[in-house]
Symmetry: D2
Subunit: 362 residues, 4 copies
């Protein structure tokens, strides 16, 4: 049941890195939305391997097909199944993985949990699994944009210790996409690219922080007390591979302030209630307040590295391992569309829930 | 539907700070567990107001009653309803709140979402709501302890900029409970208490970080890809009031390392597969690996302060507000049992799910 | 998890026949609905024992209390907890039940499933459990009535072989409530009452059929393919105690017709699409079509009888048993409000779901 | 969300009769079960059109492909996606359906609910949708058989007024499959086939009753009070196309008995507690009691008939319609594997739930 996410806008993803394919079924998409495979492909292309010199050189077209739920270019309100076939399976690279557990990967825990594992690549724990999420996220984004004018933009905020200066209120998708590292701070992005290439040459890897802003989110989304908006956002992004931390608004840094420094005072902006500051990150008491929703996610350095590491086999024998497959030295550039997708899925689900429980906004 | 949490061990909490009472219904508790109101009360007493000089002086006994699901001291496998009556309602303190929105509180967002709000105190967004969680958590803790020997201990790791040094592997509940601030670092805890009292005298508030360790968690808990253990833990604690961030294992600091520095190498500990380090925080690929699960939660400074702040009324008129009610200058000491409860609820649900999907461990 | 029902309008019931009390938590009730304990009590009074000479003589006032979710007479949008205390516990009547399994009761299966059972009465399998359902149903009914003008009326259609003639399109609640057997066919109802009293005097019991009509249900409710309206209605009423069968529209009798006899031809009623006949029972393809929803439920004869029966003890010893407690010779008169409640819960949940997925109707 | 079914063994089906294909994602299948596309195909072949002279002559191979979740012939514990491509699309037959609503079909209600509809055939309301159910049911059946020795056999009990005599305790799958009408009563089955052919020649259709027995079901399945086994079974089969009624055990006929006639007395069968009769149908208080589970489902006559009928267009114009497409004159022979699948899905989900909540049986 762990591969199902959402309530009214509910997705079920499927697929391992090797095997027939990966994809998603979206159950609960509102009817009469115009959508095409091409629009979804745009997001998948932002996620796919081999898109630039700083990602894995694996070439995978990741071409999607819509099997159901869309008729004459519009959603039917019935389940939308989207499939991407698996290709380019150099599984001989993975032979060693049949027995050796890769450090900080999920090989050992999948074996422990299920007593079986598709060792031809990452199996279900491969980032390839996120194809279904990104495809569904593309539809969620469109619903939010059409129904409420919501814009969701993620970008690389920090790579290792190189931190960019970015204004969440005004950053544009074009700015994000203008660099291969998806950091819309020109000076930083060059240094980030250099660092990623340097680390790759050393057979090592690095991580960093992705920031995401959602602008134009309607008032009232979020369903206390457990399905608070920040709680569902935290779960959504912490379910992405390689994540180690989540913050909203002031985050951990906010704990160094006093209440009088931290509180967001209110004012009236020509009748609209607004906050002077936005340390709340657009959510108060688990409910969106109309300000920008701003969150940050920590991605650890890629676990797969060429450097030799100590490990064990599936029968507990101590051995060493040096990865031979092609892999990303830094997952963040490709993680950006994944974060946007997860945020879109949460907001879309809560948008429909709010309409269901409380009716149309006045 | 947002007040329901968990799947096999599913809880529904109810209650506002004012009104008849608060509580919880636990649907899916395994049968034949010995449990008493007294055991639950122990946890509620750790959560209740007025327990020490650094919490709110509100006196609330928060005495719980078990209405169903327990017979002759044992759980029946049927829903367990636990109720705590509301008392000590000095709602005249709150008259101003009928119209003035408290900054960084949920008054404005509840009004926006529901078009109505119980303004006599925090209503549903009051920390009083967590009584049901803590009561259910007490039962979840006991199941985990009896069935698998799991120990869950949370403690205050940092108050504002005073950070304690605590060894998660050996810290004991007695050590945590030996200070009123629930920081088991004697030197730090005195400074923390002084700081909290100082801040209270200034009419201000502070926040900090709670750390939680779960020891003895069985291998294999967590249900990829969405219900990864860290994802469900993140949601669980981020649904607590006043939280702004979540980390597991190396967290945000881990993003400053390279892969070769960050990866947890494996070794064989007399046949058991273990990791040399634990930057993963006990979870790999969303599944527990048998190491300690370690997480940290950022709590913002209490929003309620005596200092005067700018705000608006529910009709958008700009006014000022200075809180008159009794409140906590720092929520962390009372948040410790809440964090433990939420972690226990997640682990207990996944323990039952794992038993259901994969059967008993060998 | 089995005591939770519904998605957007989600209820969790709790309570055994003996112990502190029974009740319900409603999670997801729309805000700003006017509701009072008195309105709920009206429905509970239709359900309670001792209401007439043909029900069990047990006197239970079943007075309800609203603990949360309602403020100044209106729903808050937060969980509504409703509790009824248990009273009048003549549990000495039940001593035999600690060891002897009552035929066609749930004693043996509860012991088999849970390994424990509250034997002081029916425990969780007691019809007393339905108090929470009826209370929640009262609120669901009101939402449906206010938001869409829906009327839900159930009545006794048949007692054993005495079958009433009732016109679902015009029957009124007053007519139903005008007889203690809740059969709005004056001639039949007298014979039914006589038969029930006769059977009671013989120490035996009887069953029958309840019919329910929902009038004014909006077009479009139901969520294929699994949550078809008839599927959710079937589950809802088949979860009531003592039910053995469910029909919608033409039901089993419809299988004796040919397609040309059975199909509901369409016509245009001044622009509105209507069906000439209603063998579909108001639902086509799992979705309401605007015609009356009509369903029938088979209730078996009460399992508790004074006549001596063969049975076994919980250790498998063969014994005899003759019930001594007070009980209903026929559950149908009291089942009527339970059926209405379950139908209302399903329709209300689907009403909110439809609004969420598809937006407001034009 | 309505295309998702089950909790621990959760399926999501997708697909319209026309478009890319239909299928299912199974989320929560236990790991290490041996399964092949060939085994699933066996069940799909029992369901497919064109299998005999009394079904629709449409030729559809309905060849399934497993896209994920199975590795080297065994389940991984990860989602299993199964796809069947759509073929043989004579959609010109359906041109009339773009505007004319077929009586007792879902055309009008889908338009009312979603404001859009794939009119090239039945769309989502087509029986073709059940391919995903039958595929998932094949896996559920195998789990139940391997883990607990459960056998599920459905068969045609009645066609119109021709009722077969069948002993649920001993009927075999071979007997069922030995006739094209799937009625294991040789004398009746010939008459049924004749009747179906006769009705088809008249351009009409007929319905009937399918009975299903589950033998060897473990004690303790079912989760009161809402997820009682009979309630979930009722929902499961009532979500199949063309169903109008459900019975378990004595069903509607049982309402004609007195309690003393109806109750199932207990006896001890060499230490095992058994019932003398089985009017309960294998379920007491919502929990399986170890006796055969027996249920019956009413299927209405096929709505598609060649005879001319009155109807309206999607703009309310009154017209006539005579179906031209190929269709089944009686759905029951093909409904048999669908019923088995739904029963298997419910039992498998409850088997896993029971193991989760209560642990392994002793």
């Amino acid at each position: 049941m762990g591969s199902t996410f959402g309530h009214l806008f509910r997705i079920s993803t499927f697929g391992e890195s090797h095997g027939g394919g990966v994809g998603v079924v979206i159950d609960g998409c509102p009817p009469r939305l115009e959508i095409s495979a091409e629009e979804i492909q745009v997001e998948l292309d932002r996620r796919r391997p081999g898109q630039s010199k700083i990602t894995t050189p694996r070439k995978e077209a990741d071409q999607c097909e819509i099997l159901s739920g869309v008729f004459e270019g519009k959603t039917l309100g019935t389940p939308i199944a989207i499939v991407v076939r698996n290709k380019d399976q150099r599984s001989q690279d993975y032979d060693e993985m049949a027995v050796k557990y890769r450090p900080s990967h999920a090989d050992a825990t999948y074996d422990a949990k299920y007593g079986i594992r598709n060792w031809q690549g990452g199996g279900r724990s491969s980032a390839r699994e996120t194809i279904g999420r990104v495809a569904a996220g593309a539809i969620a984004k469109k619903i939010l944009k059409e129904a409420a004018g919501v814009e969701i933009i993620a970008y690389v905020k920090r790579i290792k210790d190189i931190e960019a200066v970015i204004e969440p209120g005004t950053v544009t998708m074009d700015q994000v996409e203008s660099t291969i590292v998806r950091c819309p701070d020109a000076e930083c992005s060059d240094r980030m690219i250099d660092l990623i290439e340097h680390v790759r040459n050393q057979g090592d890897s690095i991580g960093g922080v992705v920031e995401c802003v959602a602008r134009g989110v309607p008032l009232g989304l979020g369903d206390p007390v457990f399905d608070k908006l920040e709680a569902d956002l935290a779960k959504a992004v912490m379910s992405l591979p390689a994540t180690k931390g989540f913050e909203i608004g002031s985050g951990f840094a906010g704990t160094l302030l006093t209440g009088s420094q931290h509180n967001d005072e209110y004012y009236s902006d020509q009748g609209t209630i607004r906050t002077v500051t936005n340390r709340s990150g657009g959510v108060q008491g688990g409910i969106s307040n109309g300000e920008h929703i701003i969150l940050r996610i920590a991605f650890k350095p890629t676990a797969t590295i060429r450097k030799e590491q100590r490990t064990v086999t599936n029968v507990g024998e101590e051995v060493t391992l040096a990865a031979k497959g092609r892999h990303d030295p830094c997952v963040l550039p490709r993680a950006v569309p994944m974060v946007e997708a997860m945020v879109a899925l949460v907001l879309c689900d809560h948008f429909l829930r709010q309409r269901g429980q409380c009716g149309e906004a006045d």
